[in-house]
């Protein structure tokens, strides 16, 4: 079964545990500025939003790479950057409509979410389950269930 990161912004508290887990997994340092997942704080609205690569099926980054440094991991479906091949041209950062591929000036390569090979550190670290790793075809299941419950007669809703 392929799985995907499911993000529920309404559960996010902005603690950045995910950013630290991500940077620690990938860079062996607690460093939000090197995280592949980022939390955005919309201060005046009092809202937080985690955001990262959604692993597009037809990935712009992959198609735009002139040296074929971005490949699909068949086990996870993740689009992964092969560091040794990447030349740091940044064309993928332009191609990605969501901004989730970024340049790392320390290494001269790009970085993006690779689902940690199937065990995403961000989901593991999130204290409120705002980030979970679920069946890729069923990311809407919980929301469907919640709305389905609203269609039940009153007594069943209370239970």
């Amino acid at each position: 079964m392929l799985r995907a990161l499911k993000i529920e912004p309404e559960k996010c508290t902005g603690c950045l545990q995910c950013e630290m887990a991500c940077s620690y997994e990938n860079e062996q340092v607690f460093n939000p500025s090197k995280s592949r997942i980022r939390i955005f704080n919309f201060h005046d609205e009092g809202r937080f939003a985690p955001y990262t690569c959604t692993q597009c099926a037809e990935a712009w980054c992959l198609h735009s790479c002139p040296v074929e440094a971005i490949v699909i991991n068949p086990k996870t479906g993740a689009k992964e950057v092969i560091e040794d091949v990447c030349v740091g041209c940044k064309v993928c950062t332009i191609a990605c409509p969501f901004g989730t591929v970024n340049y790392n000036h320390d290494s001269g390569k790009v970085i993006k979410c690779d689902l940690c090979g199937g065990n995403p550190a961000c989901a593991e670290a999130c204290p409120t389950a705002a980030i979970t790793y679920v069946d890729i075809d069923q990311t809407g299941l919980d929301r469907m269930r919640a709305h389905a419950q609203k269609t039940l007669p009153q007594s069943a809703q209370a239970a």
Partner: protein, 616 residues
């Protein structure tokens, strides 16, 4: 390693910035943050120094776990000599700038001297410079933050700044970072402004690494996170209600100081409680609370983000305050509310926004307003003094007006900015000042929670709940229940809490973890992250050493056993309602035993043996 081993020394008089290696010998004895920075401070500063002179120093300091994944590991502290108290001041703050300082590669920043003109410090990793802040002087913290983000064209910088109150000499001005987190107490912001230092701006992209044993560290971190998650207070109560979970609880046990501590229960408490913040307002169909929010790395997330009803009289003409911002925490709600008798949740939220916007400590401010209200009631203060404000207990209008004036350092607000002791002395009623060592009380009445009386009387920074929070034991039964109405065992309890808190404040972690954690949960995280011996025995010793070091500084600054006391009201006027009815605080039953347990003379100074035992 956990420490970056880099100290930045900023001489504001000369305009120089130097890097020096962290004194690792001291780190092994004082750990970090509160302990280690205080060690630097007492070694470098004369205890008799005028707090607002260039000779006073101010240290912004992180702990070894700041910036790591340890839950709540985002704290920093500001250590200086406080202008409100004349004692050692150490104010702790969350938000994000602490981790940013660490990520930029610094354990602490020592500020000395005084700049000729207003400046701000800009730090980008190992690059640091003092930049002109003349155009920022006279601006609030919020406007300063906004302007600096614009100027540096960098949404990721973190800003700590002082507002207009600090510039105008308010003695309990705070340093506010990330818009609404504050190194709040004892006037550390006043010291910063006295140095003509408007702000500290930091961008760190190096991260925090060099953990001694990464595998053991992550195991300890995850175990710690689980304990916080599974605990009823840190896993449920605090995320849902914030520290405001305490408003109704403390009021019910008759320990909620009300109207300048004349009473111990406030009839309006439920209207300004954590529960009330969830209620949908009839006026605009929204709740006061928008969401809870976390500081850096915190898996509790007790922070409140609130909105004021746009139609409320305080903001109806000020769209600036219509957005969400830092809402009421328990201490602010109590000081602005219970102690002044005001039960208008929107008015309190507005007053709290202003305290954040211009950087004043809402505890000291609210308590000082409460004292002024009592002086007004007795006729010692009149409308002539207040500039026409009808300063009655319970008046939301009076409270919000005086908040505006104090935050801007205008009119009667300048007098309120001096704090309760100076206010009450000025108007001839020193007995009405509810302070210890000139610092105002927080939200726990020591008649209803006896151990807190001793904690307040002996706190190294004046009346404060964060130096020894025996409320945890006496009210919540953490780590074990003691009777709040008796003094039995309290001296030992207070000492244990004071020493353990000194350790927590030296790690980079938040003291709120100790609703669930004991040092047994923290020790494995420190031991895995830091080189050196960090056994439980060692940590207890470090805590006691820090406490005695602070005490010795205060003794040298002129404090004696005579200052270890409470206002007469709390010692002689019994509680009139609630479970503590008929009781005053019985400090004299606790203090001698406390001195004995501490290894201090009856005059309240550490004996030669105690000093030798702790290496002081």
């Amino acid at each position: 390693m956990a420490w970056t081993r880099n100290v930045m020394r900023v001489n504001l008089t000369k305009g120089t910035i130097k890097r020096e290696p962290l004194n690792m010998e001291w780190a092994m004895e004082y750990l970090g943050q509160r302990g280690l920075a205080t060690k630097y401070f007492v070694e470098e500063v004369d205890p008799k120094v005028d707090p607002l002179s260039p000779e006073n120093k101010m240290i912004m300091t992180t702990g070894p776990l700041t910036g790591t994944m340890a839950s709540t590991g985002g704290r920093y502290s500001v250590v200086t000599k406080g202008p409100l108290t004349g004692a050692i001041a150490c104010s702790n703050s969350g938000g994000f700038i602490g981790a940013e300082i660490k990520s930029a590669g610094w354990d602490m920043i020592i500020f000395e001297g005084r700049s000729k003109k207003p400046v701000y410090l800009y730090v980008e990793n190992d690059r640091a410079e003092l930049l002109d802040a003349r155009d920022l002087w006279g601006k609030s913290v919020w406007d300063t933050d906004h302007e600096l983000h614009k100027r540096h064209q960098d949404p990721l910088i973190r800003v700590a700044a002082v507002g207009r109150a600090a510039e105008k000499g308010c003695l309990y001005a705070a340093i506010v970072n990330d818009l609404h987190r504050a190194a709040g107490r004892s006037g550390v912001g006043t010291v910063m402004a006295s140095k003509n230092l408007k702000a500290v701006v930091v961008r760190g992209t190096r991260g925090v690494g060099n953990i001694r044993d990464p595998k053991a560290f992550m195991k300890a971190v995850n175990a710690g996170k689980k304990v916080l998650h599974d605990n009823a207070v840190t896993g449920a109560g605090l995320p849902k209600y914030g520290t405001q979970v305490l408003m109704n609880v403390i009021n019910e046990i008759g320990a909620s100081p009300t109207r300048n501590m004349r009473e111990v229960q406030f009839e309006g408490a439920s209207k300004i409680s954590g529960e009330a913040m969830h209620e949908i307002r009839k006026s605009d169909g929204k709740a006061n609370l928008v969401t809870n929010a976390a500081c850096f790395g915190c898996t509790i997330a007790c922070g409140r983000i609130s909105v004021i009803d746009k139609n409320h009289y305080t903001v109806v003409n000020s769209p600036k305050y219509w957005g969400a911002s830092g809402g009421l925490e328990y201490e602010a709600a109590w000081a602005l509310g219970n102690d002044t008798g005001v039960d208008d949740l929107d008015a309190l939220t507005y007053a709290n926004f202003l305290c954040n916007e211009d950087g004043i400590d809402p505890i000291s401010f609210g308590s000082t307003v409460a004292a002024a209200m009592e002086l007004y009631e007795t006729g010692a203060i009149t409308k002539k003094d207040t500039g026409g404000i009808d300063l009655k207990f319970g008046s939301a209008e009076a409270l919000t007006k005086i908040t505006e004036l104090t935050c801007r350092g205008e009119g009667f607000g300048k007098i309120i900015g001096l704090g309760s002791r100076r206010l009450c002395e000025k108007y001839g009623h020193p007995e009405l000042s509810m302070t210890v060592k000139s610092q105002e009380f927080p939200a726990y009445d020591p008649r209803g929670i006896q151990g807190m009386g001793l904690a307040y009387a002996t706190s190294n920074r004046g009346a404060c709940h964060l130096r020894g929070y025996t409320v945890a034991s006496e009210v919540m039964g953490i780590p074990e229940k003691t009777d709040p109405l008796t003094t039995d065992g309290k001296p030992a309890l207070v000492k244990a809490f004071q020493d353990a808190t000194a350790v927590v404040d030296s790690t980079g972690l938040c003291v709120f973890t100790t609703f669930a954690w004991t040092l047994n949960d923290i020790q494995p995280q420190i031991a895995a992250a830091c080189e050196g011996d960090w056994s439980m025995e060692k940590l207890h010793e470090v805590g006691e050493r820090i406490w005695n070091m602070e005490r010795m500084f205060n003794n040298a600054a002129g404090f004696t056993a005579r200052d270890d006391t409470l206002p007469r009201r709390l010692l002689t006027e019994p509680a009139r309602t609630g479970p503590a009815r008929g009781k005053a605080n019985m400090l004299d039953k606790m203090l001698p035993e406390y001195y004995r347990l501490r290894g201090w003379t009856p005059e309240g100074t550490p004996t030669k043996e105690t000093r030798a035992r702790l290496g002081l």
